[in-house]
């Protein structure tokens, strides 16, 4: 029935890649992701994992190499962070356009300049439109579980899309926590070998990554977009099956103490657990406040999101990224999701947790109260950067 171990999220992801029996891993080390690929290299060197490890000269090459291995039908894993994800940016689009079910762990890291090795969601938001499925984990157990789910989702014949699993740099990647590991047979049953309808094979040659004139490009991209939208059905099925097999339930939009809540706070990633502590405290003080945790960022789970928030009076959204000159990217998306609803909450957006800046439990309590006050004062459109020194 499995065993309970102490792992940082990085090792939990490496362990999941091992139990998923990956064929290929390519990566270029970058903080705070390095532990994942170091661990995988170690597992391969120790003979615990039979896979090819591609040491490469850059992240651009790392993902390019993964295109090849995935196109040949190999189960392919890659990990990166921040600037590394930026350097592979053009290849990120190629992987989804070619419909290759690569799984990538991203240890969310702030983007230069100023240079920062610490976490925020700037890198995740910069790849929002690349056509990958994007899932956020909140702790080491989720990082393990959702890595397995990511392979299962990506490789589903109805999906065949690359998938990113996001963990927050340092706040998750380097934090040791208890993790329950399943038996290898259980993982094998959940994650059988997959077969891509088109693989590189000299006996049956195909052309991949071809060129399209204006007469074809739109159609090719619409097919890709429809696949990403439709992947939501498979994601729901996979989460359900995972829950039935392993006893831990996941959903594209998750909630904490939202019953009867008039005010909702929305977070993504590891800060959600900190926010839960804050919700406990404000609930304890008799305030009707709950938490919405966005697990799935792409495809955006519009229906599930609307159902969770439409009864609330106020929705306070935390973005861990700036969209310079506009609202935070999550806030923007949330407002678009609500715009056509007859009954919808007011929305107040905060930007915070940039470049590794902590938000404490007290900080989240403060954020909730500031949000409520701003709504009272009608300052709904104002974008406030939380905990910024004005003087």
């Amino acid at each position: 029935m499995g065993r309970r171990v102490a792992f940082e999220s990085s090792c939990a992801i490496a362990e999941a890649a091992k139990m998923a029996n990956i064929d290929v891993c390519a990566a270029y080390p970058i903080t705070p992701q390095t532990h994942i690929v170091e661990r995988i290299a170690q597992l391969i060197a120790d003979g615990e994992l039979d896979a090819n490890y591609m040491p490469v000269e850059s992240e651009h090459s790392a993902l390019s190499g993964c295109l090849g291995s995935s196109a040949a039908g190999a189960r392919t894993f890659i990990a990166t962070a921040g600037q590394g994800l930026e350097l592979m940016h053009e290849v990120v689009y190629v992987a989804s356009g070619m419909r290759l079910p690569i799984v990538m762990a991203v240890c969310n890291r702030a983007l230069s300049v100023p240079l920062s090795i610490w976490g925020d969601h700037s890198d995740a938001m910069a790849v929002r439109d690349t056509g990958w499925i994007q899932i956020f984990a909140e702790n080491a157990q989720q990082a393990f579980d959702l890595t397995l789910c990511a392979f299962r989702i990506a490789e589903d014949p109805a999906v065949l899309l690359p998938t990113m699993l996001h963990i927050d740099g340092f706040h998750l990647s380097h934090v040791i926590e208890p993790v329950l590991l399943p038996e290898q047979e259980e993982v094998n049953e959940f994650l059988p070998r997959y077969h891509h309808p088109f693989v590189l094979d000299p006996k049956s040659p195909v052309t991949m990554g071809d060129f399209a004139t204006p007469a074809l490009y739109t159609e090719a991209k619409v097919g890709q977009d429809v696949a990403l939208r439709n992947s939501l059905k498979v994601i729901l099925q996979v989460f359900q099956e995972f829950g039935e097999r392993f006893g831990r339930d996941y959903s594209p939009v998750e909630t904490y103490k939202t019953e009867g809540a008039e005010v909702l706070l929305l977070t993504m990633g590891s800060f959600s657990e900190v926010a839960m502590e804050a919700i406990d405290r404000v609930r304890g003080a008799g305030e009707k406040v709950g938490l919405v945790r966005l697990r799935l960022w792409r495809p955006f789970p519009f229906e599930q999101f609307r159902q969770v928030v439409n009864q609330a009076r106020l929705l306070i959204v935390l973005d861990r990224a700036l969209s310079f000159g506009g609202p935070g990217p999550v806030c923007s998306e949330v407002q678009a999701a609500l715009y056509h609803l007859r009954q919808r909450p007011q929305v107040v957006g905060f930007i915070g947790g940039l470049g590794g800046r902590d938000i404490s439990v007290e900080g989240f309590q403060d954020m909730v109260h500031r949000g409520i006050n701003k709504a009272k004062q009608g300052k709904l459109g104002e974008i406030e950067v939380f905990d910024v020194r004005e003087q």
Partner: protein, 291 residues
């Protein structure tokens, strides 16, 4: 002139259709008109059919940038295009079709005549005589002006001067000569559009495409008939041919194969008429002849 005149140029890569459209726009703008010129963007290949466009108005601003589907004027730089491209597609009734052809006006009219004014000139001969090469774009500008008066003939010369430098004089001469030689036929009342049916490209819906835009048909490029890009083709003199195979070695299309008798022959389906075989043949057995 009308509020807006829309023009479509049909030529082959290298014949100067795009340059013609540019020169026409430069000329119109110098005359104080509003004008626009643009090519049909895509991979450029010498000899392949190409399209260029002009929009010209007296003073109304031109904002449309889309390809012209229903032109007032169509100009065809290459006589060989008439058989393979529906050059008159969308040409307005009462419009003008200007064709480069060595044939009689009446013969061209029976092939491509319709409810439009037809203008014909043997621009290839004029270009060969004056420019010593079959680049017909400046001659066709002269024919266009004769058939439509869209700009003044003299207004063309300054832009030509600036564009062609030391070659300007001969280009202006070709332009003048074509202007003089162009024959025009007004449409007969009730004239019908040509009946020839051209193959229409059928594009797949997004649902019909393979996952990841994968192409499973191996060697699908073999279906491209690059042979119709040519204006000249290689002709072999067996008296001079020593069967050395240099022509085949240098053929960039790799379309020259040895026959049972040992001679080397270009596959007409693929030969683009580049002339490299004739240039490389050191016994002078291969010459390029107009198609």
């Amino acid at each position: 002139m009308d509020e807006l005149v829309e023009i479509r140029w049909h030529g082959r890569g290298g014949q100067g259709a795009v340059t013609s459209a540019e020169l026409l726009a430069l000329t119109a703008i110098r005359e104080g008109k509003v004008a626009q010129a643009f090519p049909s963007f895509g991979p450029e290949r010498r000899g392949a059919p190409v399209i260029a466009f002009n929009r010209i108005s007296k003073d109304k601003p031109i904002r449309a940038r889309a390809a012209i589907a229903e032109p007032d004027i169509v100009i065809v730089l290459d006589p060989g295009l008439l058989g393979i491209i529906d050059v008159a597609h969308g040409l307005k009734d009462g419009g003008t079709l200007v064709v480069n052809s060595p044939r009689e006006l009446s013969a061209v009219n029976s092939e491509i005549g319709g409810p439009w004014r037809l203008a014909v000139v043997d621009a290839t001969r004029i270009a060969r005589d004056i420019l010593k090469r079959p680049i017909v774009n400046t001659a066709m500008l002269g024919a266009l002006v004769k058939a439509t008066g869209i700009v003044n003939l003299e207004s063309l010369f300054q832009p030509l001067q600036e564009r062609f430098g030391r070659l300007a004089e001969s280009n202006i001469k070709a332009c003048r000569e074509a202007h003089k030689e162009t024959l025009i036929m007004e449409p007969t009342p009730g004239a019908k559009r040509p009946e020839k049916v051209y193959p229409v490209e059928k594009w797949p819906s997004w649902k019909e495409l393979n996952i990841g835009f994968v192409v499973t048909e191996v060697g699908s490029a073999r279906g491209y008939q690059t042979g119709y890009w040519k204006s000249e083709h290689p002709v072999r003199d067996n008296e001079r041919c020593i069967k050395c195979g240099m022509c085949a070695l240098f053929c960039p299309e790799d379309c020259i194969r040895q026959t049972e008798e040992g001679y080397f022959e270009a596959d007409d389906f693929y030969c683009k008429g580049c002339g490299i075989c004739a240039r490389e043949c050191w016994t002078g057995a291969v010459t390029m002849v107009e198609v």
